[in-house]
Symmetry: C2
Subunit: 551 residues, 2 copies
């Protein structure tokens, strides 16, 4: 890997001015250090100067100025000491097994602190405002304070997971569940057409820069194992895979030659490396396949199509389904989480919410119960292409059939007619399903349906999804969500242009847009921008009204 | 205007391959020719070759190969003969006055045909699918067939409007109402910082290319009147303005010098030119202003802030409110529609759905009744910044307070934290409120809050909003909406790459994304793309399953 000799990953994280890494220590476990990003608020340089905004930060040590990074050595294994001192309970080391026994782990306290950034100091509490903006969700409410005990209960009940393979000690624990911040997954990985380890590693770093909470390595091309090793050792966020892809490569691409043993070998190999969650297509059964026959777009999940072909060729039941308990035993050992794949998700608006889709979802619900019995953390994958008015039914059926296990959806895309812009068609659906209670959103890039995403596509996809996730957090009333919007709007109204840039999702782009028409330094102190010019700036006029004290 | 000598506006409309303009004649009025775009479906060049998809087309004569365009002369005044033969009813020539009398005008039949493209020939009707996907809106259903009589009823009841000044005969009639396709408005116009007539005219054409249904000229800079004249004479879509901007320029920017007479002069000048709808800030009353005092971002409507300042400076009631009936008489004469402005829309998540906002909305409802009594077509403007869970309340209150008059919202933006990407933060809210019944969505560009949009910003804003509008049309069950998604998904599943590009919202971008990784011509016939490569293409595998006839 000569290419990494002159590679400084920290460069990618440099464009966050007035921003630095900070850590909060645990109280149950004082050896844990929970990372967050601290954004300095400049204000008018008098009264606001001591203010800071803390935001959730999934970028890992890369954005910490005081940490040395060496890609070849990998990240510091922060969980190693926690894991070493643990005594397995009944042979299980999984978070859910501890949670069921009433034990709060380091990981649980870590995520409780991580989810709790309320930034109360920024603004005086305004009761009228808090009441007016409070969430109105039917099925759940998020507590004002997220305690380690609350986390433990959510894990124990299966409503949340902390994906964290015991062989991935580099991971900074994060939680996926409807009562927590909505998370975003970024898919990376090569294909037979495009392949390079350094390219994929760069996409990992790029994903961290733009806020990915987990990453899936969906490589199907060359050097699958080696690529994954580089990713795992350098990833502070959980890594998911679809083991079927490597299994198919192992049998030379011949679907009919697949079998449980080949698949099991791949599972164990990836488990040993440290993969945190596996997408397994265990819920597509032989009788389901014929339900897709009259669909507009058949089966659009890669793993699902492979399994459907295997089942129909051999006329046998899905070998992952028939070996599910054995699979659970392996996964419990490593504390790998299930992401129960939706092989039959709709690939077009026409196929949304059909019989095939919901038949599989029911099976996923049955498998969830089995996984929980084996103390395996579990989430459920969801669609796909769904028009706006059918999204709620997806969430409610998942809630019912899958016993409140976290939902993890791809979009959904709300129209089929905009290839090249499916990050937008799907961000709409993602925001809506997140609000209804979907726990994690799998991003979609502008390249969806057209080709393998490049670096900029990864950025655009993540930006759209961080927006969707944040919109859903505001709507579901997560206590840490609104402070950033408030701080930015305050800066906007007071013409603190620098703060407006620093607090934004993409400071560089916000500044570039502003400077395109008013480039000079002095314009960062003017109470208007080129959109309206000085005479027509509503905020300027509005401020004058209150200053005149005529009201 | 030397610059237009070598200017060929049709160049802008060239990137729509296998696409041509077509017209449908009226049956009540056989002199009307309703435009639409016909996209040829290439398919596998045997069985599909006769298929065509018709789509709604707001681009006007510019996209018609057989029409000569001369920017200096303006467009052909197609409504001139309709208007000439009309006898005003009680001094009124407005669409609502005819509708109330039971008269179907040319404009009404025109929009009925325009909204009725069902493309039934493309796919066999699948009843299970139609039932599964049908709309579930509480407050309204869209009929299977949109007849001229249905249009008339909607206009008569005030639930829809056809903005069409008698002095803008170049306009191709279009309808705004919840039972019709969701429309998109693009704002153009210069500011004191950036100004050029040709620049604004280019933005008009660019807006037409990307699907704007109406345009607002929000110029506040130089040559306001001349710019507007060029825009009106060359615009096949309705043009809206905010007359207050020109009124303020007339009094040298001194808000306190404004008065009814100055405002009235501007109204008449613009009415004579042919402006189709006016945003008037008649609903913000003196007592409302103090309700905004504890807001995060005060008053963020330009016209609203100006009027609030005027009211508080003079301690007098809003002069548009006090002269509203006189204004109605002028507007009825020209058949100009009201867009009753929301001066107190929230400019931040923190201010959403507050007392000030809804107090003004109630006043807008009272004004709606008055406007209807004067036979003036009316729509109501809406917010702004609103978190996802408070959007529905906006639509329901508007529905109730404003007696079902069409709602026309800016976004709403669902978060404040992403300047530079507010086309996305707001497309989410726009799609949702469109689904609930909002009739027209005012686009937001990536430059929102930061500067005046340029050509590419206009395109990005419109793309995001055409997606939002289409997502809402699918969800509210407009009969013309789904055929394009179905045709594109069919092409996708059958690897008809060319059709996939031609049917997409932005053919050039879709093709570019595909070709980035598989550029050769031959790849347009391969049954996979670079995203998954040949072995892992789910659609390819899925097709094989059905071909094998094992299910």
């Amino acid at each position: 890997m000569e290419i990494f000799d002159n590679f400084n990953p920290k460069e990618i994280f440099k464009d966050q001015p007035e921003s630095k890494k900070n850590y909060i220590n645990g109280t149950i476990y004082n050896n844990i250090k929970v990372p967050m990003r601290e954004i300095k608020i400049l204000g008018n340089k008098k009264k606001d100067q001591e203010k800071k905004l803390y935001v959730y930060d999934s970028s890992g040590p890369y954005s910490d100025e005081d940490t040395n990074i060496n890609i070849k050595e990998g990240l510091h294994p922060l969980r190693k000491e926690w894991l070493l001192k643990r005594k397995p309970i009944h042979g299980s080391t999984s978070q859910i097994s501890y949670a069921k026994k009433g034990i709060i782990t380091e990981e649980m306290e870590f995520v409780a602190i991580r989810e709790s950034q309320k930034n109360e100091i920024l603004f005086e509490k305004n009761l009228e405002r808090e009441n007016r903006l409070k969430s109105r969700n039917k099925h759940f409410t998020i507590p004002e304070i997220i305690t380690p005990e609350f986390v433990r209960k959510e894990i124990a009940s299966g409503r949340a997971i902390i994906p964290s393979n015991i062989n991935h000690p580099e991971v900074e624990p994060m939680i996926i569940g409807r009562s927590f911040l909505t998370k975003v997954n970024a898919n990376i990985g090569n294909s037979a057409i495009h392949s390079s380890i350094e390219g994929e590693l760069e996409k990992l770093l790029w994903s961290l820069r733009w806020g990915a909470d987990t990453i899936m390595d969906l490589s199907t091309g060359k050097n699958i194992k080696e690529t994954r090793e580089w990713i795992l050792r350098n990833s502070p966020i959980p890594v998911g895979t679809v083991p079927m892809y490597q299994a198919l490569e192992k049998v030379g691409g011949n679907i009919e030659d697949l079998n449980w043993n080949v698949y099991r070998d791949v599972i164990i190999e990836q488990a040993e490396q440290g993969v945190d969650y596996f997408t397994v297509h265990a819920g597509i059964l032989l009788p389901h396949v014929q339900l897709t026959k009259n669909r507009m777009t058949g089966i659009v999940s890669r793993g699902g199509a492979i399994m459907a072909k295997w089942c129909t060729t051999h006329h046998k039941e899905n070998f992952i389904y028939t070996h599910f308990k054995e699979l659970c035993e392996i996964m419990r050992h490593y504390d790998i989480s299930f992401s129960l794949g939706d092989a039959l998700r709709p690939g077009s608006i026409a196929d949304a919410n059909d019989e095939a889709q919901f038949a599989e979802l029911k099976t996923l619900g049955e498998l969830t119960k089995i996984a929980w019995n084996y103390d395996v953390q579990t989430m459920i994958e969801g669609p796909g292409h769904v028009p706006l008015h059918l999204i709620q039914e997806n969430m409610e059926k998942q809630f019912e059939y899958c016993h409140e296990a976290p939902f993890y959806t791809l979009g959904p895309l709300t129209t089929d007619f905009a290839p090249g812009y499916d990050h937008i068609t799907s961000a709409i659906g993602a925001a809506v399903i997140g609000w209804y209670g979907c726990a994690m959103l799998c991003y979609v890039t502008p390249k969806e349906h057209l080709g393998l995403p490049n670096k900029d596509d990864v950025k655009q996809g993540l930006i759209a999804y961080k927006i969707a996730a944040h919109a859903s957090d505001l709507a579901k009333g997560h206590p840490a969500a609104r402070s950033r919007d408030d701080a930015l709007s305050y800066a906007r109204y007071h013409f603190h242009w620098e703060d407006q840039f620093h607090l934004s999702l993409d400071p560089e782009t916000a500044r570039k847009h502003h400077d395109e028409s008013l480039p000079e330094e002095k314009n960062l102190h003017t109470p208007y921008c080129s959109m309206c010019g000085p005479r027509f700036c509503s905020m300027r006029i509005s401020s004058q009204i209150y200053e005149d004290k005529k009201i």
